[in-house]
């Protein structure tokens, strides 16, 4: 049993590193989430995520913030600021995925021209 779980975890790790939907997110959903990150997070944080009314979400700006605090901010927002809670909209898994994109510097707009 444990071996099976470990095997699953291993395969999940290796798959997620190449961007395949091992974390349960379909390729289609990943495309949607990437679009959400750019367009909807981008409406406050800028299309390139370098900041707007909300702060920059580029890796340099996030350095020093723990992954857990970022997850918490996305989940529940930041009361007293304009950051809304995303838990009503996104699953825990999806929030995980988005925060990983931000930490990896993989969230900014890629030219679609």
């Amino acid at each position: 049993m444990w071996r099976m779980i470990a095997a699953c975890m291993l395969s999940a790790l290796s798959l997620s590193s190449v961007g395949v939907a091992a974390d349960g997110l379909s390729a289609e959903r990943q495309v949607e989430l990437r679009s959400l990150l750019q367009q909807d997070c981008g409406s406050c944080h800028g299309l390139t995520l370098k900041g707007g009314l909300g702060p920059s979400l580029l890796p340099a700006a996030l350095a020093g913030k723990s992954r857990e605090s970022l997850l918490e901010t996305v989940r529940n927002g930041r009361p007293g600021t304009a950051m809304p809670p995303w838990r009503p909209i996104l699953s825990e898994q999806e929030i995980d995925w988005l925060v990983d994109r931000l930490l990896a510097g993989d969230g900014a707009l890629h030219s679609t021209e």
């Binding site: 909807d40 409406s43 299309l47 390139t48 707007g52 007293g80 304009a82 679609t112």
Partner: protein, 407 residues
């Protein structure tokens, strides 16, 4: 026969040369005519459509509803907006990356572009059309440029507290060669008079309320209203009587209700005024608030299907069109301004970001980001008339704005 020459190789060459010259002349003539027909037109029916993700604007005409040009190379245009020169020939486009671009609508080309800050949010053109002001987030403040060549005229840092700088929002032009704007972080409204461009005269109004998110000026240029994000209410400034200071209006409009999450900041524009009523988005409540513009008191509220973003009156004031924040941004609701009821819910598609009425209101242009389309609706039948392709369209700005206060 006299004059008839045998067709020798020399004659053939002559004939060919002659034909070539005639063709060349014809081509030059038609090119001249073509460019003359491009230039010889008014701009009163032109508009630009921001293609936010590709740093370009489309130039369209609203008589036949067709695209006539495209200008690229304008940088990051997320949340871009534009104002027009008073002759209606040039658009000044304000980009998120701090870029200020002057675009020639007739020649469909970029005239000048300056990167004037790290991060900007919008701008305005002065009453006399000679100055263009830009509101900046980073570094927070307002910069004012010569509209002709975009050279810097004045730099007004939004300083407050102990050496802090605020993000600036809600910048509009006002009569008396003035600009009015608000400070998001500081909760202030500033009025800057630019009669002598070398000596801006600044008047500051403090404690207007927490986190003003945008501002509008009434179409007559008299009242400036800042919407507040940090509390329920708005801040009203009578530009005829600055000494009266800022008055809080619609205080506590959401009292007793749980505020809902806001996934996109609403906008305010002078279009919100229809006759003696003003229609504004509630923040954190799925409602449009209605005020009497004589008393600035609430006279009604209209429940709508999501967080309103733009609340815009048709130019004749008979209809109010509302679009919405994520995740309900696929719809538009049309309100009858007399009965204050919703007369139609339209579903153009995901990412309805902006609406712009043609100057006399018979049609409205709607950008539908995720469909990569702009839809044109007939406002009488509420039927869709035209669909134009556009890459991730956001703001739509018509040259008629050139002659409106506060736009």
């Amino acid at each position: 026969m006299p004059g008839k020459r045998p067709i020798t190789p020399e004659l053939r060459t002559e004939l060919k040369t002659g034909a070539f010259v005639i063709l060349l002349l014809a081509a030059m003539l038609s090119a001249t005519l073509a460019s003359a027909s491009t230039l010889l037109r008014g701009t009163g029916d032109l508009a630009i459509i921001i293609e936010r993700a590709s740093g370009a604007v489309q130039i369209v005409e609203t008589t036949g509803n067709t695209r006539i040009g495209r200008v690229a190379g304008l940088g990051d245009l997320s949340h871009a907006s534009a104002v027009f020169s008073r002759d209606g020939r040039y658009a000044y486009v304000f980009g998120r990356d701090g870029g200020l671009s002057k675009v020639d609508l007739l020649e469909a080309k970029l005239v000048t572009r300056v990167l004037q800050s790290g991060n900007s949010i919008g701008g305005a053109i002065s009453q006399d059309g000679r100055l263009v002001a830009v509101s900046n987030y980073q570094p927070g403040g307002v910069k004012i440029f010569d509209a002709a060549d975009l050279s810097l005229v004045a730099d007004i840092p939004a300083e407050y507290g102990d050496g802090l700088r605020s993000k600036v929002i809600g910048l509009v032009d006002a009569p008396g060669q003035r600009f009015v704007f608000s400070l998001w972080d500081a909760g202030e409204t500033w009025v800057v008079e630019m009669r002598d461009p070398a000596k801006p005269v600044i008047r500051k109004f403090k404690d207007i309320g927490r986190n003003p998110y945008d501002g509008l000026i009434t179409p007559d240029g008299r009242f400036y209203i800042a919407g507040l994000f940090g509390e329920d209410g708005m801040a009203l400034l009578d530009l005829w009587h600055l000494d009266k200071g800022v008055e809080r209006i619609l205080p506590g409009y959401g009292k007793g209700e749980q505020a809902l999450p806001v996934y996109k900041m609403p906008h305010l524009e002078g279009w919100a005024v229809a006759g003696d009523r003003a229609f504004v988005p509630a923040v954190g409540h799925h409602e449009v608030l209605v005020m009497d513009t004589k008393t600035w008191r609430e006279v009604g509220r209209i429940p709508v299907q999501g967080q309103p973003v733009f609340v815009m009156a048709r130019p004749d004031g008979r209809q109010i069109w509302v679009n919405f924040a994520f995740p309900r941004n696929d719809k538009i609701q049309v309100i009858d301004s007399e009965s204050l009821t919703i007369i139609r819910t339209l579903t153009p598609g995901k990412g309805v970001l902006h609406m712009e009425f043609e100057p006399r209101g018979e049609e409205v242009w709607v950008s539908v980001r995720d469909a990569d389309q702009v839809h044109v609706y007939d406002t009488a039948s509420l039927e869709r008339r035209t669909v134009l392709p556009a890459h991730k369209p956001s703001g739509i700005f018509m040259t008629a704005r050139a002659h409106r206060i506060g736009l």
